[in-house]
Amino acid sequence: MAIRTQSLHPHPSPLPTREREQSYSKVITGNHAVSYGALLARVQVISAYPITPQTQVVELLSEFCANGTLHAKFIKVESEHSAMAALIGAASAGARAFTATSAHGLALMHEMLHWAAGARLPIVMANINRAMGPPWSVWTDQNDSLSQRDTGWMQIYCESNQEVLDTVLQAYRVAERVSLPAMLVLDAFVLSHTAEAVEIPSQSLVDQYLPPYRAGYKLDVSDPHAFGGLAPPDVYMELRYQIQKAHEAALGEFARADEEFERLFGRRYGLIESYYADDAELIVVTSGTVTSTARDVIDELRAEGHRVGLLKIRLFRPFPIELVRQALMPAKKIAVIDRNIGFGVGGIFAQEIKSALYNAPVRPALFGFVAGLGGRDITPEVLREIVDYAETHQEPEDLIWVGVKT
């Protein structure tokens, strides 16, 4: 669980000096957990552009490259659009490629996100959730990553710094098996700049989990092919069909990657995670760090006799429709907490869950809460308010703004 503390190291963390053949525990920020994940994944080409609150990720990776800890090419580009374009070139030539960004940087990449997925390149990127301007904000919400929902990227929302590091490794494993790019997502500051103890796994174990990338096809002067050329209507649709099929296959690959991860490292996360949900009348649905706060609140409410549970959505794309249905159908009510707003409709996770449940045999009443935009804290009190509202109202409501001053 992420605890808000002062950074123990105002400057970049000390570089790994211990024997890398043994796992060890280290107090690091979420940003540095990303860097360590990329280091352990032995990424070969990095390209990035600075943006708050992401910058520490690539600062530490720059140190790793500079001192030889990581054998990689780091292309320090002039924009995020170029960062993703560089990785598309690199991955097309067979390299394991990595970047990190946030908010406006991610938005600037948008065109190239489509390109990476359309080209079926297993690029992995960390996106630090940050609210979109204007007005300028550097604090967390999910509108940046959720705006990229339909680009074809897989998206995984992380709750803790350990999960961040582990997810980098899982993301590469799945991405390279299904030939799709993957984005892991972590909350600005609540994770990105908050330090907690993280187990840094041994390199040999990671190598076992994630063997070197062998591209199925790549730019090769001894076997020349053209990639990404004009596709007439008689082939384009099949290529899009195959991307959808790859997303469907990724559901199984994620589950297997998680099982294998547990076997080697002793931790697993699931595609979704239920907490006291089996006999719950009301299930609160969360993603990201709100989940940690919600676990505590659920514990308290359970102790007080409320039949309330929690569903954490970790994998957002591909969306685990069947698992979400099974997890939510037993409940009478669902309270979805969206740290985002799909303007003109409502919370985006709420839309996804409604969509998953529409063809289900049983559909619990759904309350869609929008909270915590632009980094406003979602405190235990806020979560209690949400639960209380859902418990005391019988008719479902699509959009309820939490704590908004009108």
Partner: protein, 304 residues
């Protein structure tokens, strides 16, 4: 230039059946460039005429690997390919970014400047047909003053001068910048081979006449490219490290009035005597500037 001993390399890495228009300068330029570079070449293609010329899936006109990429990304996607090849131990293959004038001087200028500033070990080639030809002849930053395009109609032709991309690239002090055109294949191939032999960023600006866009006869494309050089509209020169200029053509005795170049092109047909005179003066000024740069003594050991 001594052209007597020139032999065109036999290797043919561009096949017939490509989708270029008749007389396409950009198609011929690619053929020559690949003759100079050989098989160990990767071509990175942003949106441009060559997106089409290269052939639709599953065909490819080129016998080297081709990576299609988004309009504004040629230089940086090529940087990524270069990094990936290097980290996998292939430092021999030449990575070429091959972009049109719009993809170079307009939408792609940011990533091109970034790659130049980083001195990426790539060869960037702009085949310049002086407008957005693939979308149907719209003005670009490389369209010459007074030219007709579909967005600069005859009653309101382009008012602004052509962007000087060579000066922009030279200002980055990259190892090699040069101009070339399809009418001088010996010069073009020598420059490509020279670029290939150098480490770091190389920029080649190739004038590539476009028969439909310039409103010229397809059989006149090469002739017009030659006239562009002789009229000093497009002199051939090269720049080392952004400061040592060498003029290749035209020789003083070859120089012709610009009118000889303009009169064969429908895109300039509407020009009155005043505009023609203004263009001639502009050409003279540019020529004088180039002469000054060629004569400029560059410090040879300033460590730049």
């Amino acid at each position: 230039m001594n052209r007597a001993n020139f032999v065109l390399p036999e290797i043919e890495l561009m096949s017939s059946g490509h989708l270029g228009c008749q007389g396409c300068g950009g198609a011929l330029a690619m053929r020559y460039v690949l003759k100079a570079l050989g098989e160990k070449t990767v071509i990175v293609l942003p949106a441009c005429c060559w997106t089409i010329i290269a052939g639709p899936f599953p065909y490819s006109t080129l016998k080297v690997p081709v990576l299609h990429t988004a309009f504004e990304t040629a230089a940086v996607a090529a940087s990524g390919v270069r990094a990936a090849l290097d980290i996998q131990g292939d430092t021999e293959t030449t990575v070429v970014a091959w972009a049109g004038d719009g993809g170079t001087v307009d939408i792609g200028l940011q990533s091109l400047s970034g790659a130049a500033e980083r001195n990426e070990n790539i060869l960037y080639i702009c085949y310049d047909n002086e407008a957005y030809m693939n979308t149907g002849i719209q003005r670009s930053g490389a369209t010459p003053r007074f030219a007709w395009t579909t967005t600069t109609p005859e009653k309101n032709p382009k008012a602004e001068r052509k962007k000087d991309i060579v000066a922009i690239m030279a200002a980055h002090r990259i190892p090699y910048t040069a101009t070339a055109t399809i009418a001088y294949p010996d010069d073009l191939i020598r420059k490509v081979q020279k670029a290939k032999s150098l480490q770091g960023m190389k920029f080649l600006h190739i004038l590539a006449p476009c028969p439909p866009g310039w409103r010229i006869a397809s059989e006149d494309a090469i002739k017009i490219a030659r006239l562009a050089v002789q009229a000093r509209v497009f002199p051939l020169y090269e720049i080392e490290d952004g400061e040592r200029y060498t003029l290749n053509a035209p020789h003083e005795r070859e120089i012709i009035p610009a009118e000889e170049y303009f009169k064969l092109q429908g895109r300039f047909a509407h020009l009155g005597p005043q505009e023609r005179e203004q263009m001639q003066q502009e050409i003279e000024r540019n020529w004088a500037r180039l002469q000054r740069l060629v004569q400029m003594k560059a410090p040879s050991d300033d460590g730049a």
